[in-house]
Every structure is written in C-alpha cells, then in structure tokens.
C-alpha cells in the first residue's frame, strides 16, 4: 500500500503540466514558428510550381497570421482564467475559442472584405483545430521534457544543494557553541531548521524573491559561525524586487558555491557580493566571489548550476538568462528574469 502511494506521488510530480504562459516572448515565438511552418507545409502541398509556392504561402499567411496574433493576444489576456480551469478544461476552452474564430472567418469576414470569399465553416474549423492541436501538443511535450528538472530538484536538495560537508561542519560548529554561547547555538539551530524546511518543501511553484533572500541570509549566518571574519558579505538589494517571483532555491545554492569555492580555500577569506536590482521589466541578480588560485572542480557545483538553468527555462522560457564567468580572479554569476509578481 505504501509503495502504491509513492508511485502515485511520483506520478503527480510528473503531471504538473498546464498551458504555457502565452504572454511569454519565448512561447509567442515558438507558436509563431510552428504555425508558420504548418502554413508553409500546406503551401508546398498546394503549389504546382516553385513560383506558385510563394503565392500560396502569402495566401495562407493572410488567412493564418491574423488569427494567430489575435489568438495569442486573447490567450495572453485570459491566461489567469485558463490556468484556474485546470489543464483539460483549458484545452477545451481554447478549442472552442478557435472554433468561434473560424466561424467568424466563414461568416462575418465576408461582410468586411467583400472581395474575399470566405471558405466554408467546416474547412476553416478543421484547419484551425489542427494547427491549435499541433501547438498544444508541442508545448505539452516540451513541459514534460523539462518537468523532471523540478522533480529532480527535490531529490537533489539534500544531496547536491546542501553539501553534506556543510551539514556536518555546521552541526560541529553548533556543538562547539553549546557550552560557551548557548544563545548563539540556539539561533544557529533555528536558522538550520528554516533552511531545511525550505529544502524539503514542495518547490514546484514560484516564490517571492524576498523569501529567497531571507533564506540566503540565514544560510550565510550559519556559515559565518564557523568561518568567522573570513566570510564577508556585501548585500545590495533593491527593495523594489521583493515581490518578484523566482524559482525557489535559486539563490541559496549559488551562495553556497561562492562560500565553498571562493571563501573556504583562502586562509584570509574574502568577500561575496550579492546585488539584486530591477532594470525596467527585468530583475537582475549578480553574485560575485573571489576565485581561489587552485581550481578544484566538484561535480556538485555543475549539477546545481545546470538545475537552476533548467528551472529558469521551464518557468520563464527565453525571457530568463543565466551567465557565469571567471575573470580577473572574480567568479560572477548573473541571472536575469522577467519581473513578475503574484498579483500582476
């Protein structure tokens, strides 16, 4: 019985699929490409000669492009209702909407453009539904392909994110405080409890940036306990970004990397700087740490970075970027995400 439950919960993590956010530039671009490829394919089938191909495509595009753009605008505006409906119902709603568009083309468009003879409803309906299905199936497959990144994030949390090295060293540091400074020991254990609560939570949905920053601060407070004045942190946080939504556990693994690779290998320590600011419609996060002379690579580091990158892609598609570079003795990670809030 217990085993069945586990299977069910694993399946559940796989089916967190919903319609994509049609306001996202990446999603729009992908939709445009798919639809135009389909139109081009139709034109190739219809055209008798290479010269006719272009004309056919123009004819199809004149019919298809307005529908596509109108649909994207309306789907973008209606995304909240669509997401609230659930996946299957939202697909039905989209299909009904596209049928309405087809009906409009067959009956009303003739009145607007007298020279344009509207195709019969059945033909338009079939064409529109077919193209819509192609787009939805594509996004379904795409989110299924990226979904394991989220499921994996939870499993990795205790392995790669929080290094065992960190766990045992922190416990050791707390033990050393027990006798001399019981108050500080208490604080440290509270911070650790908060950290692990987030690590073990369901991290599939976006969380406010303020919570992420608080978590990174708590993490650094624990590290400061054992590293003392070797660890210096410079925070620059723009208050305007507090409500921005980010994938949970995006900042903490990066800060942990900075401590592990930038501070610990140096006898005198160094400074980690974290700069979070809003630039127009984007939130830019920049994290730097000194690079130690020795280049010891750990696979855990790359895994954490790859996982963050995948989750950014899943949540924000092409609108989020993540760059990392080592230059002049400084390692720098820059993340740009669209500024989205829970109530906008």
């Amino acid at each position: 019985m217990a085993k069945l439950d586990t299977v069910a919960s694993i399946n559940q993590t796989g089916t967190g699929i919903r319609l994509p956010n049609f306001c996202n530039l990446g999603v729009m671009l992908r939709s445009l490409v798919i639809v135009n490829l389909l139109l081009a394919a139709a034109a190739v089938l219809r055209a008798g000669s290479p010269q006719g191909l272009w004309e056919e495509f123009i004819a199809y595009a004149a019919f298809g492009e307005p529908i596509l753009i109108l649909s994207l605008v309306i789907l973008c505006g209606a995304r909240r209702w669509l997401h609230a409906m659930g996946y299957v119902r939202s697909i039905v709603a989209v299909a009904l909407f596209e049928l309405a568009v087809a009906w409009f083309l067959s009956n009303a468009a003739g009145a607007l453009f007298p020279e344009h003879r509207g195709a019969p409803f059945a033909q338009n309906a079939f064409l529109v539904l077919f193209v819509t299905a192609c787009v939805i199936v594509y996004f379904d497959l795409r989110s299924r392909a990226l979904a394991p990144a989220i499921a994996e994030a939870r499993i990795q949390a205790l392995q790669a994110r929080i290094r065992p090295h960190f766990l045992y060293n922190s416990i050791n540091a707390v033990l050393s405080l027990m006798r001399t400074e019981p108050r500080r020991a208490e604080r440290a254990l509270e911070d650790m409890a908060d950290l692990f609560r987030v690590l073990m939570a369901d991290n599939r949905t976006l969380a406010p940036l303020a919570a992420e920053i608080e978590l990174a601060r708590q993490y650094l407070a624990i590290e400061a306990l054992r590293l003392g004045d070797r660890l210096k942190v410079d925070w620059k946080v723009d208050a305007m970004t507090a409500d921005a939504l980010v994938p949970p556990l995006m900042l903490q693994p990066l800060v942990e990397n900075a401590v592990y690779h930038g501070i610990e290998p140096s006898p005198s320590g160094g400074e980690i700087s974290i700069d979070v600011r809003r630039l127009g419609t984007e939130v830019v996060m920049e994290l730097t740490n000194p690079v130690a002379a020795e280049g010891r690579h750990s696979p855990g580091n790359k895994m954490a970075i790859a996982n963050i990158r995948e989750r950014l892609q899943l949540h924000f598609d092409a609108e989020a970027t993540m760059k990392s570079e080592a230059k002049d003795g400084v390692y720098r990670v820059t993340i740009r995400i669209p500024y989205l809030t829970a109530n906008a």
Binding site: H165, Y168, N169, L175, R226, E264, P267
Partner: protein, 252 residues
C-alpha cells in the same frame, strides 16, 4: 614540570575556530583517562608545520580540508620527518578522502567527533606505527604544492612554482630554485609521476620545470643528443639525452 614531559603533546590543526574549540573541549574531557597536553593550535597546514618546527609534538589532530596547505599535503611532509608525530585525521565529509583512507588503512575521525572515538584514536597512537609516506601518497588525489626539505629536524617548504629543475644525485635529488639548491630524499621517478604536469624529463637524471625553459641550444660537445635546455632564470645549460631528444621538438 616533570609529569608534563611524559604526557603526549597534542597539536590541533583546523581552519574553523569553532571546530578547534570543540576539539579543545573534548580533549579536556579526555585528560581524566588519558593525560595529555595541548601544545598549540594551527589554522592551516603551513601553520601546523611551523608549530612542528618549533615544538615537540607527539600527536597532530589534522583537518583534511584547510586552505593553502591542506591536511593531506601537511601529512605527507610530516611523514618525511625523522621522528614524525602520530597523525589523526579529522573530516566533516570528504567522500574522496574517506574512500582513499579506507583503501590505504589510514584511520580518521568524522566530525562531529565523539569523545569515545577520540579516546580510542588517542589510545591507538601509543601502539600504532607512524603513517607511512607511501600510504599517504597513495591516498592523496592531487600533487603536493611544496617539496619539503628536512634539515636538522626542521621542515623547510619549497613551493613547486619556484623550482627550476630537479636532478638526481646518488641518494638524493637536488632541487634548484633561482636562489639556491636543496637536497630532498625522494625518488626522481616518483617526482616525475606526481608532477608530470609541471616537469618534463630531459635526461635520465633530470626533470626540468616547463615554465623555467628559456629555449634550446645546440651544444654538441657536452650533450649526447646535441642539444641543451637553457634555464631562463639562471642561464644554466642542461644536456638533453638522446632518448629524450623528442622533448626538443615538442617545445620548438
């Protein structure tokens, strides 16, 4: 005090202050059953070796992951001493080191350390032979960053980055830096294996640092291959043997 000279003298090496404090607390509790004296504390491998040069130490509690000179490298230098102290490694988590220690039968303590485990480890140091250099070399996963010269019971570290060439001479290897020469008791073959990235063999008895090579000169009289390596910093010319002639082509 007379009694103090008889009890084991202990050095604590760990880069984290709380970890050192915790070991102090535990060692204080050990005193009842295992009389001991804490000689000093060190924040990294280099400081640990400096304390060893200064004080008589019987047991070193050595953290593996420390900045600059880590516990593993410090242990390899300590093992070359005439009368090395016993080493007890401590680590919070280092999957590589732990595996290597198991394979090479090197004892270690996992942090957080328990009093009983610490007592057992301290007890073992009385009977167990000192760790062998060979076992430590086998357990290490990266080359040392210094060579240790042992002179009159003191350890002198020579950074490998400063070494121009290594030349085998009977029982010893001469280590040449821009300033002076040192003698180390190591085999040239082992050095070649450990530092294959930094050095290239030009002769049966000579390894040259790749970075120290200033160029190659034709030198038919003294060299069997007809070539000599020019050392940038000192202007010395070292003969290239016929078997290592390919090195000349590789660099030109």
């Amino acid at each position: 005090m007379l009694v103090d000279s008889a009890v084991p003298r202990i050095l604590i090496a760990d880069d984290e202050a709380p970890a050192r404090q915790r070991l102090r607390d535990l060692l204080d509790e050990c005193r009842e059953t295992f009389p001991l004296a804490i000689v000093d504390e060190a924040k990294n491998g280099r400081e640990a070796l400096e304390v060893l040069n200064r004080e008589k130490v019987d047991i070193v509690l050595l953290d593996i992951r420390m900045p600059e000179i880590d516990g593993m490298e410090a242990a390899r230098h300590i093992a070359g001493m005439a009368q090395p102290p016993a080493i007890i490694f401590t680590t919070a988590f280092d999957s590589y080191a732990i595996k290597a220690f198991e394979v090479n039968a090197i004892d270690y303590l996992l942090k957080p350390i328990r009093l009983e485990r610490l007592l057992t480890a301290l007890g073992k140091t009385r009977v167990a032979p000192p760790l062998s250099r060979a076992a430590l070399d086998a357990a290490a996963n990266q080359p040392r960053r210094h060579l240790s010269v042992h002179e009159r019971g003191k350890i002198h570290l020579v950074p490998l980055a400063e070494v121009l060439y290594l030349r085998a001479e009977l029982k010893y290897v001469t280590v040449r830096t821009a300033e002076r020469e040192y003698l180390v008791e190591e085999s040239l073959t082992h050095l070649e294996e450990e530092f294959s990235e930094l050095f290239v063999r030009i002769h049966r008895n000579c390894l040259v640092a790749r970075a120290a090579i200033g160029g190659f000169e034709r030198n038919a009289e003294e060299s069997e291959s007809g070539w000599a390596v020019l050392i940038k910093a000192t202007g010395e010319k070292l003969p290239v043997s016929r078997r290592q002639h390919h090195v000349v082509k590789q660099f030109r």
